[in-house]
Symmetry: C2
Subunit: 209 residues, 2 copies
């Protein structure tokens, strides 16, 4: 993570830009100004222009951006043309909801395999996704050459399952557990801690009214 | 949001510190060093010391921190002693999973009312939470004086429902839809965009290997 050309904050906004551009394109719009874009995605236009500047000359100031070419550019940057297969471990309430989750407007993300410790669930197909017994995790992830995993297991299983995922070759983990898992340097973890998000919101409400 | 004494990044780490301290306390531990804390929550110890410095003298360097008093301090800061009632709008797959979600180790957050447009669901009690018809949203939120809401509705309903929530007095919205909703300055929005998180992770994997 040392030689990042693009700041993480910028990279995090790319899917947002991309989705809005796709929406505009689907609505038949051809041009968009940074002001319009700013209004829609709630990012100030100076930030948008700075973000875009990392990618070179994407449009002429005052003329607006060409929706289609910008969409294609960001789509390519985001690997939208490549299908990424994702494994999901832990088909509890949240895991099950994520199997159903559309990962909106993204045709490039597919949960291809799920795993659960419950023998009642393992071996079934849920929402079109095969659920394997968790004992087959390493083998299946290796065979299917999956590199990204979603972790929705109970707290106490987080680190042991993460270790298995890493052994199986996983390079990116979206971690929904509150546990901060330990991984080697070449494995990225994206923590999505819903309690944290809600507590932070409540904290700000009560302190900065 | 202009007169923030504490940086947002620090505030976002508070629930994390708090949860780990609670875990230590429950395990009977009395002292913790910033190095141990750093290991466990995966935040470098310089950042931890800087974060703590915003709250004054919390411990002596080299002696470690007192687990109980630090836990109590952060709990108080996070309003852990006050129960925050939360409304949830949209009891689809994700909404339903969140009704079940424990908001781990937090005794201070309770989803007290849910709303759904589906007449099949409205009027029932799900996971112990009353689900009202969405037509009663403004009235119920006002009556129950709820100020925080979780938004798990379909995209097209996001802005209209947000408008109703604001009319009802909601001051903080945890927005799970991919729509960037428009709100007045005194209403905070915390966007939790799962597609974004996953796409960002995939983007980093393919660009910074």
């Amino acid at each position: 993570m040392k030689d990042m050309e693009i700041p993480k904050a910028t990279a995090k906004r790319l899917p947002l830009y991309y989705r809005y551009l796709k929406f505009l394109f689907d609505s038949g719009k051809q041009k968009v100004s940074s002001t319009e874009l700013s209004e829609a995605v709630k990012v100030d236009s100076a930030t948008i222009r700075r973000d875009f500047s990392y990618f070179g000359e994407l449009g002429k100031r005052g003329y607006g951006y060409d929706v289609e070419s910008l969409m294609n550019f960001f789509g390519k940057t985001l690997n939208e043309d490549i299908l990424t297969h994702v494994a999901l471990v832990g088909v509890g309430n949240l895991g099950h909801a994520l199997l159903n989750y559309k990962f909106h407007q993204s045709d490039s993300i597919r949960i291809s395999a799920a795993f659960d410790a419950d023998p009642e669930i393992g071996g079934r197909i849920l929402e079109g996704v095969p659920v394997y017994p968790v004992t087959e995790l390493v083998q299946q992830v290796k065979e299917q050459k999956i590199e990204v995993a979603i972790l929705t297991v109970p707290m106490e299983a987080a680190q042991p399952i993460a270790d298995q995922l890493i052994e199986a070759g996983i390079k990116g983990i979206m971690n929904f557990t509150p546990v901060r898992i330990t991984t080697p340097d070449d494995v990225m973890v994206q923590n999505v801690d819903l309690t944290n998000e809600l507590q932070t919101l409540i904290y700000f409400l009560s302190h900065y009214k």
